[in-house]
C-alpha cells in the first residue's frame, strides 16, 4: 500500500484523518498515486494539480525519502521505499505564509 500524507487544509477539505493508504495498480509514479488519490477523494481534483492530471499547482510540493520530487517527471517511478510502504509520499503546502 502506498502511504500518502496531505497538508492539513486538504485533510479538512476531504475529511481525512491521518494518512491515506492507496492500492496503486501498475507502476507507482506521482501520476498514478495522484490519480488513485483523486479517484478516492474527488473533492481533491484541482487542488493539488490541474484538472485531468494537469500540472502541479505552484504552491504545492511533493516530497519523499528526504527528497524534493516536485520537479521530477510525473511518470518517473517513485522511490522503492514509497512503493514498499515504508516511507510516505508527502504532499506539502509550500511555506508561503498566510
Amino acid at each position: 500500500m502506498i502511504r500518502v500524507v496531505l497538508p492539513s487544509h486538504l485533510r479538512v477539505l476531504a475529511q481525512i484523518n491521518g494518512e491515506v493508504s492507496l492500492d496503486v495498480a501498475g507502476p507507482v509514479t506521482q501520476r498514478t498515486v495522484l490519480d488513485a488519490l483523486e479517484a478516492r477523494y474527488p473533492v481533491l481534483r484541482g487542488t493539488i494539480r490541474g484538472h485531468d492530471s494537469g500540472p502541479r499547482r505552484a504552491f504545492i510540493r511533493f516530497f519523499a525519502c528526504e527528497q524534493d520530487l516536485s520537479h521530477e517527471q510525473p511518470d518517473d517511478p517513485l522511490p522503492a521505499a514509497v512503493v514498499a510502504g515504508t516511507e510516505p509520499y508527502l504532499i506539502v503546502g509550500a511555506m508561503a505564509g498566510g
Binding site: 497538508p7 492539513s8 487544509h9 486538504l10 479538512v12 477539505l13 473533492v43 481534483r45 484541482g46 487542488t47 493539488i48 484538472h51 499547482r57 504552491f59 504545492i60 503546502g93 509550500a94 508561503a96 498566510g98
Partner: protein, 371 residues
C-alpha cells in the same frame, strides 16, 4: 418572518450568525472551511436553506461549497472554471498584454427562481453560470469577449468581477461590474454586453469619455426600482436613473467619496448607505471614526451614523461585498470589517452593535431574512 441569518466570509473561514427578529441576540457557528479564504457566501432566494460559498487558498485554488440546510452541513461542489475558448489577453499593470488566468470566485449570485442556478463573478474578470447546483460551471463568454476586453486592467486587488445584479422586473437584464474595467449591462441574460460608464470621471484615465478602465468598487440597486443604480467608485459615489446609460455624481457632503461598499434600504429605494474611507492610500475611516453615511434623498445629502460604532482609534476597512440589508419590517443593516467585527443595526442604521468582534478579516457579508 422569523429571523435573520448573516453569512460572513473571512480570510480564514466562513461564519453563520443567526438571530430572531429582535436581532439583539446571536448564535455564531463557524469557522466553516477553517483556514481557507472565503470570499463570498450567499443564499438562494428560491430556497433559503440552499447556500453557496466560494472557498479558496493560494495553495489549492478554488472550491465551491453548497449547503442544503442553511449552513449546518456543506458539500464540495464543482471547482473547474475554464474560460471559453482561447482566453486571449488583457492588459497587465504595466500595460503589456497578459493572458487571462482564473484565480478565484469573488461573488456568487443565485438566481431568483431556481436554487440550482447560480452566477459566479471571477478573477481574472469573467462571468460563469452553473445550472446544476454548482457541480459544473460554464463561462458566459460574451462579457470577457467584449471588444474592450483586451484593454481591461486589474485594480490593486486583482481584475475581479465583483458585482452581479439581476433585474427581476426585466427578464434577461443584468448588470456586472469589474475592477478596473467598469460597469456593464446585458439585456439578454448575458448573451451580449455593453459598457455603461458614461459620466464616470476617473483620475488616471486621460480620456474623459473612456468607455472602460474605471475602477468601479460596487453597484447597488433596489429591486422595486431597477432602473436606478448606485455606484461606489474608487473615488466618487454615483447614481444612474436610466439603468446605467449615464451617471451623475452624488457624493455631496460626504467627508470623502472613496470607499468600497454601497447598499440600498430594503423598503426605501432612495435610502442609500456608504462607508467613507480616507483615501486610496489610507484604507481606514477618516479621523479614526467608523461612520456609516446614509442618504435618504437618493444621494447628495448624507448624514453620519455613529451610535454604537467606534469613534476613536478605529483603522479598519470595509470591503466591497461586506455590507448587506435584511427585509424585516424595520430594515436591518450589516457590515463587516477587516478588523473582524460584524456590526448590525436593527433600525435602518440609527444604532449599531457588534454581533462578533474578533473574527478574521471580513471579506463579505450577506443576510437572509428567514420566512
Amino acid at each position: 418572518m422569523t429571523g435573520v441569518r448573516v453569512l460572513a466570509g473571512t480570510r480564514k473561514g466562513a461564519f453563520v450568525l443567526t438571530s430572531d427578529g429582535g436581532r439583539d441576540r446571536w448564535e455564531v457557528s463557524g469557522p466553516h472551511f477553517a483556514g481557507w479564504e472565503v470570499y463570498h457566501v450567499k443564499g438562494s432566494p428560491a430556497d433559503p436553506d440552499r447556500l453557496y460559498a466560494s472557498q479558496c487558498s493560494g495553495w489549492s485554488g478554488q472550491v465551491i461549497q453548497r449547503s442544503d440546510d442553511g449552513g449546518q452541513t456543506w458539500v464540495a461542489a464543482g471547482n473547474q472554471f475554464a474560460y471559453d475558448g482561447a482566453p486571449g489577453t488583457h492588459q497587465w499593470y504595466d500595460g503589456t498584454p497578459h493572458p487571462w488566468e482564473f484565480e478565484r470566485v469573488w461573488h456568487l449570485e443565485p438566481a431568483q427562481d431556481d436554487p440550482d442556478t447560480v452566477w459566479a463573478g471571477v478573477e481574472d474578470a469573467g462571468l460563469f453560470r452553473s445550472r446544476d447546483g454548482g457541480q459544473s460551471w460554464h463561462e458566459m463568454p460574451a462579457l470577457r469577449g467584449h471588444k474592450s476586453g483586451p484593454l481591461w486592467q486589474p485594480g490593486a486587488g486583482g481584475m475581479c468581477l465583483h458585482t452581479i445584479l439581476l433585474d427581476q422586473s426585466a427578464p434577461g437584464r443584468m448588470f456586472a461590474a469589474i475592477s478596473a474595467a467598469g460597469a456593464f449591462r446585458s439585456d439578454d441574460d448575458g448573451q451580449t454586453w455593453r459598457p455603461i460608464n458614461q459620466g464616470l470621471q476617473s483620475e488616471g484615465i486621460p480620456d474623459p469619455d473612456a468607455e472602460v478602465g474605471h475602477c468601479v468598487h460596487r453597484l447597488a440597486m433596489h429591486p422595486s426600482r431597477p432602473s436606478v443604480l448606485f455606484m461606489q467608485k474608487h473615488w466618487d459615489v454615483m447614481r444612474s436613473d436610466n439603468a446605467g446609460e449615464s451617471w451623475r455624481e452624488i457624493s455631496g457632503n460626504l467627508p470623502t467619496d472613496f470607499g468600497f461598499p454601497i447598499d440600498v434600504h430594503a423598503h426605501e429605494p432612495d435610502t442609500v448607505y456608504v462607508v467613507p474611507i480616507t483615501s486610496d492610500a489610507e484604507h481606514f475611516p477618516p479621523e479614526g471614526k467608523l461612520r456609516v453615511y446614509r442618504s435618504r434623498s437618493g444621494g447628495d445629502d448624507w448624514e453620519p451614523l455613529t451610535r454604537g460604532l467606534p469613534q476613536e482609534n478605529c483603522y479598519v476597512n470595509v470591503l466591497r461585498d461586506a455590507m448587506a440589508v435584511d427585509s424585516m419590517d424595520e430594515c436591518g443593516v450589516y457590515f463587516g470589517t477587516t478588523g473582524g467585527q460584524v456590526y448590525a443595526s436593527p433600525d435602518s442604521g440609527d444604532t449599531w452593535a457588534p454581533i462578533v468582534r474578533d473574527l478574521p478579516a471580513v471579506l463579505s457579508v450577506e443576510v437572509q431574512t428567514l420566512p
